[in-house]
């Protein structure tokens, strides 16, 4: 300090008078300013405050003043929004112009005339839909009686079982036909609770939870447990319900090739580094016990080993395997002798082998209870009609009563025998081998037939439709609805329908895959579906096989690109809209 003063004095000695006068002027002004401030009410308070906190340290005072200035500046700044920059500001006139220009799109695009046949081809069943049905032509009123119903997924033929019917009727007499409310209001009735218990007991889980519809079970259960930042690894052949479920959960999705557990392990291995360092998230492997699109099952034993090794949870969709696989219809885990507790979440449908309607989810108690408040379909959708619940309970109790150790359940055995028989007949048929390939495995009650690769090539049909990189997905991305239509896909489906129509004339009702191409994330191949039923006898199967073999081989063998074009020509020609 003293050094500074002496240098200052030395300098001022040599400096002109004006500078000294100026400095003394400034000092005087400063004193006047201080006195002025003291006169202002409260001014002395401020000065005292500054003096007290100054404590002979100008740096400290400077810092505090700066801080106070920041606060004051912050306090007087006016509010602004971060989003404001991104917003487009339009004048009143521009807004009006946009409104005038706007033409509402129709809720649904108009039906194409090429697609009209799809609606006409829907069969109308007269009377109850058991394993034998009567079809009525809605235009002529002509009735075809006593068809073998191979389009129904009531595999165990429980839909019209007298015992099940009586239980359903009893419940209707007690509490009417509808639940009329979501489960959490007054939708839950005793039969729902009983069904949850029955399912949990039957499948060997702690707790079961019932959903009003099977399709929305997965789309509700999976997003209930997964959110952003979580990881789900999905089989690359799952049904559209699971695809949508993974999509709307907003988590990160990886796909492994259908039932290719080596590929699954490869993906898990490549994720390891990332999983170790990130925050702990929820991790699921999602697959189907019996694939809807391929009719085969994963190697569950290895799958469980893999998920335990990599600390993932397993989400198994047993929609098709409950009631059809295993000695007592307990699904894939029964086949492999794996306890249900190894599978964290099991979902399934009551609408197929259990002969009712609705969906369910079973697993550990906490998992099921969590859904009561967090699962959208459970909280917001109407509960399952009580009679459906008691019908499903009736089926389960029948299956449990018929259980004998070391034997295949007498309700399940005919289904498995019939499946085996029809599968081997179709697989060994020489005539069919050239034109169609059996895609499903021998244990699948849904037998899946596809056009053989050689035939597809001959007819100039692509290997598959939709899926990654396809025109349809591009059209969806760009919002071009007219691009959703695939001409080849429509034609191939039409060819399959031709065979179905012909089979109806011969007394066998089969069906085909009906997929909306722009809803599928994965590539699809149109297939003929033959659903085996426990209610058929050997003669029925033999008859069905002969009809199917004959119809398919006469339609397809010798069919070439020209013939195919002629066959489907009427699609583009017809004028009915």
């Amino acid at each position: 300090m003293s050094v500074v003063t002496t240098t200052l004095i030395q300098n001022t000695n040599g400096a002109p008078e004006a500078v000294i006068a100026y400095i003394s002027h400034v000092v005087k002004l400063w004193e006047q300013f201080i006195q002025g401030v003291e006169k202002v009410p409260g001014g002395s308070l401020v000065l005292n405050y500054i003096r007290a906190s100054h404590k002979n340290d100008p740096w400290r005072t400077l810092l505090e003043v700066l801080l106070a200035l920041v606060a004051i500046r912050y306090f007087f700044a006016s509010k602004y929004s971060q989003d404001e920059k991104e917003k487009v500001h339009l004048s009143e006139k521009e807004i009006q112009e946009l409104i005038d220009d706007w033409e509402p799109e129709p809720f649904a695009p108009p039906l194409r005339k090429e697609e009209r046949w799809e609606l006409d081809a829907i069969p109308m069943v007269k009377g109850a839909a058991g394993n034998r049905v009567a079809l009525e032509d809605p235009k002529t009123g002509h009735v075809i009686p006593n068809l073998l119903n191979m389009a129904s997924r009531d595999f165990l033929n429980m839909g019209l079982n007298e015992n099940v019917k009586q239980r359903a009727i009893k419940t209707i007499r007690e509490c009417g036909v509808g639940a009329c409310s979501p489960m959490n209001f007054y939708g839950t009735q005793d039969v729902h609770v009983r069904l949850g218990e029955d399912l949990a007991r039957f499948l060997g889980a702690e707790e079961g939870i019932i959903y009003g519809q099977d399709y929305c079970t997965s789309t509700s259960v999976l997003p209930c447990f997964l959110k952003r930042g979580d990881i789900v690894i999905v089989d690359g052949g799952v049904s559209v319900a699971l695809q949508k479920a993974a999509l709307i959960s907003r988590c990160h999705i990886e796909w492994f090739n259908h039932n290719d557990l080596d590929h699954l392990e490869e993906i898990l291995e490549s994720l390891q580094e990332e999983l170790r360092e990130g925050p702990l998230n929820r991790r699921f492997i999602v697959t189907e016990a019996l694939s809807e699109n391929f009719g085969d099952s994963p190697d569950l034993k290895r799958l469980v080993e893999i998920k335990n090794k990599y600390k993932f949870r397993l989400y198994l969709d047993e929609t098709y395997s409950i009631g059809t696989l295993g000695a007592n219809g307990r699904g894939l885990p029964e086949v492999y002798g794996i306890p249900r507790s190894e599978i964290e979440i099991t979902v399934g449908s009551l609408a197929h082998a259990l002969g009712s309607s609705g969906g369910f989810c079973v697993g550990c108690r906490d998992m099921a209870y969590y859904q009561i408040l967090s699962s959208n379909a459970y909280v917001f959708s109407a509960a399952l009609p009580p009679y459906s619940a008691s019908a499903a309970s009736a089926v389960i109790s029948m299956l449990e009563e018929a259980e004998e150790p070391g034997k295949v359940n007498r309700y399940v055995k005919p289904l498995q025998d019939n499946t085996q028989l029809l599968y081997s007949l179709l697989k060994q048929s020489k005539k069919l081998q050239q034109v169609v390939s059996v895609r499903s495995a021998e244990y699948s009650p849904v037998i899946i037939l596809r056009l053989a690769p050689a035939l597809r090539k001959k007819l100039n049909l692509p290997e598959s439709y939709g899926g990654p990189g396809s025109d349809v997905l591009k059209a969806i991305k760009n919002g071009h609805e007219e691009g959703y239509f695939s001409r080849d896909y429509n034609r191939e489906n039409y060819l399959l329908q031709k065979m179905i129509d012909e089979l109806i004339g011969r007394g066998v009702l089969i069906t085909r895959s009906k997929r909306v191409l722009h809803h599928e994330l994965l590539p699809v191949v149109p297939t003929l579906l033959i659903n085996v039923n426990a209610g058929f006898n050997e003669k029925d199967i033999q008859h069905a096989y002969e009809c199917i073999e004959d119809t398919i081989s006469t339609t397809l063998s010798g069919l070439d690109a020209n013939g195919f074009n002629q066959l489907v020509q009427q699609l583009e020609k017809t004028n009915i809209i």
Binding site: Y74, G229, R250, W255, D260
Partner: protein, 200 residues
């Protein structure tokens, strides 16, 4: 009957392309900024939609009157608490009050990200509570108040206690620790210190 487990499918169905180009997505997730200072990327349209599903309960409570008063009450209680401990003199008691408040509010407003509730599908997972308040708008009344509290606390504590230089520095640094992250320039900015912070 002992059913043999099913054999593995003979020819696994091969997908030509993975539906989500998983590799680019993975790179995207794995990419971590090597720079010390990075900025949180703006939300995608989808995330914004999820943020709008429901008002953000994690950030909205700061608008209540009680939420403002509680800051003052907590500070007074802290000061009383430290005054009651005989081994601390006035300087120490003010410093501890200041530092305790700062640590608490830093953890609450600037450390923890996301929301404790699951209403927005994790759409706020990358944002601190300060960034969630008023949807990230700046200079809103509540932000002015919350900015003013630590500064005011610092100024009066330096006034009422005769800090030595060491304590003064401690208090100033503590104050700046909560003032700087609140400035508009710090919005969505993350400071990455290798091995200390685990920010993404």
């Amino acid at each position: 009957m002992n059913v043999e487990p099913f054999p593995a499918p003979s020819s696994p169905e091969r997908l030509t392309v993975s539906p989500t180009s998983s590799h680019t997505a993975k790179d995207h997730r794995r990419r971590r900024s090597s720079s010390l200072i990075s900025k949180v990327e703006p939300e995608t349209f989808e995330t914004k939609q999820d943020q709008d599903i429901q008002s953000n309960m994690n950030a909205n409570w700061v608008h209540f009157k009680g939420a403002w008063i509680i800051h003052i009450v907590i500070i007074i209680l802290l000061k009383l608490f430290y005054d009651l401990i005989p081994m601390f003199n006035n300087e120490w008691s003010w410093t501890l009050t200041n530092v305790t408040y700062v640590i608490g509010s830093y953890i609450m407003f600037h450390q923890i990200k996301g929301t404790p509730f699951d209403f927005n599908n994790g759409a706020y997972d990358n944002l601190t509570m300060w960034e969630q308040i008023d949807n990230g708008d700046q200079y809103t009344p509540v932000k002015k108040f919350l900015m003013g509290v630590p500064i005011f606390l610092f100024l009066i504590s330096t006034h009422y206690s005769y800090y030595d230089l060491n304590l003064f520095v401690v208090n100033l640094v503590a104050c700046l620790c909560v003032v700087i992250p609140k400035l508009p320039y710090s919005h969505r900015v993350r400071v990455n210190i290798p091995y200390i912070t685990d920010q993404n």
